[in-house]
């Protein structure tokens, strides 16, 4: 994928036929460039940033730190914007990043029923399923059914809390730390933290699932 984006003028021309959308977007970019509104090199840089720099590895580091450092965890749950900035993994966070903690008694899940609001700064761009009609429609009234689609079953006595991201506040789930990880380094802990576990549609990996 990355290769295709490096030279916008000839991307995808190795294919035999250009799709309608490829043609349409190429025309749009040409028009906007000729009108002086956009610089194609800046478009390349935006794409590169989202393909290589911003992503769930950032959130995983935040979670691993919270699992390892009780004071950081308190700070994160108190004001995630401030705590994540202080951690120095990124240099800017939206106004209101809110971290919510999963426990054996309470499972938090994040959705945006109206569009695709998602904590880009710590998780990168949302996956297709997060933006899809099945997830947006069902997360708020059938969260256990949605979890089943991910192969996740919660104990029946675990309560469910769904956060609908209807404003510019953004949410990240602090998943439960797996057992059997005592003494692990933050780096090793981060390898257990999946994107889905930070959206609330999955759990962190078990120690045996990583090399």
């Amino acid at each position: 994928m990355e290769q295709k984006h490096e030279h916008h003028h000839d991307h995808d021309e190795h294919g035999s036929e250009l799709s309608e959308m490829q043609l349409r977007v190429r025309a749009l970019e040409t028009v906007l460039t000729e009108k002086g509104y956009v610089d194609p090199a800046a478009l390349d840089a935006v794409i590169e940033a989202y393909e290589t720099k911003v992503g769930p590895h950032i959130g995983a580091r935040v979670v691993a730190k919270a699992w390892s450092d009780a004071a950081f965890k308190r700070a994160l749950l108190d004001d995630a914007t401030k705590a994540v900035l202080a951690l120095g993994v990124i240099n800017r966070v939206g106004d209101h990043l809110i971290a919510v903690e999963n426990t054996p008694k309470l499972h938090n899940m994040i959705v945006c029923t109206l569009c695709s609001c998602y904590p880009w700064e710590v998780l990168g761009l949302p996956p297709v399923w997060y933006k899809s009609a099945p997830y947006r429609s069902r997360a708020v009234n059938d969260p256990r059914g949605v979890l089943a689609d991910f192969g996740v079953t919660l104990p029946t006595d675990t309560a469910i809390r769904v956060w609908d991201s209807t404003a510019e506040t953004r949410f990240i789930v602090l998943p439960m730390r797996p057992e059997g990880t005592e003494g692990w380094s933050e780096e090793k802990l981060a390898s257990l933290v999946t994107r889905d576990s930070m959206v609330g549609t999955g759990f962190a990996k078990q120690p045996g699932e990583v090399a």
Partner: protein, 218 residues
């Protein structure tokens, strides 16, 4: 607006289908569309809520049948045409047929690292907050034909203010060019049964982020 974008609680869309090892973009044109939307918003010709409203106004059948970035692309074309920034004739020709309008700024490579995170929507308060955590509130039964961030499933429902989240740009006004009109924002928590009736999962609680004009005391 009461559009098909407001999906919370709708039936019939089927299962969620997660994709293993999903790429950030599936097609090169998706990446270009994403970046074009980003770069055009940077010029200051419209704000994020105007972009959302443009996508919401796509014909319902088009909205539902289009992939995520196709909606972005169609919304972008619509905004460009409405503001006279680029015409359908030019997109059909594949070249500019007229000179561009002067814009406030243009995204440069050097500026990209500074703008790839989300913008700031917090604003100084115009008046004290009307509600505090613990207050019972009822969401208003509103059905504006324009942009709103109060989802249909959470209208005319009683909930509890859980947190005050500061004062923010009000999407309902800024999306239609009526100014930022900053409003207090609250997390309002509802019981599943208040939203979905007796069939709701007993332990379910759902919260929305509600701007003060959406709420009245209950």
């Amino acid at each position: 607006m009461d559009g098909v974008h407001d999906m919370g609680g709708m039936h019939g869309f089927g299962k969620v289908e997660p994709e293993q090892d999903e790429p950030v973009f599936h097609e090169a044109w998706e990446a270009r569309t994403f970046a074009l939307c980003w770069a055009m918003r940077y010029t200051g010709v419209w704000c994020i809520d105007q972009g959302r409203f443009a996508r919401e106004q796509l014909p319902p059948a088009v909205y539902l049948a289009s992939s995520y970035y196709k909606k972005w692309e169609l919304g972008l074309e619509k905004q460009l045409a409405e503001l006279g920034l680029a015409g359908a004739d030019e997109l059909a020709a594949g070249h500019a047929l007229r000179a561009g309008n002067p814009l406030k700024r243009k995204l440069s490579v050097a500026e990209v690292p500074n703008v790839i995170t989300r913008g700031s929507f917090a604003r100084p308060a115009q008046k004290p907050a009307k509600f505090k955590p613990g207050d019972r509130v009822r969401t208003k039964n509103i059905h504006p034909r324009t942009h709103t961030r109060l989802p249909r499933y959470a209208r005319d429902k009683v909930g509890v203010v859980e947190a005050l989240r500061g004062c923010h740009v009000f999407p309902d006004t800024v999306a239609v060019g009526k100014g930022e009109d900053p409003q207090w924002l609250y997390t309002v928590l509802f019981d599943g049964r208040e939203l979905w009736g007796e069939s709701a999962e007993p332990s379910l609680k759902v919260s929305i982020e509600a701007f003060e004009p959406y709420l009245e005391p209950a």
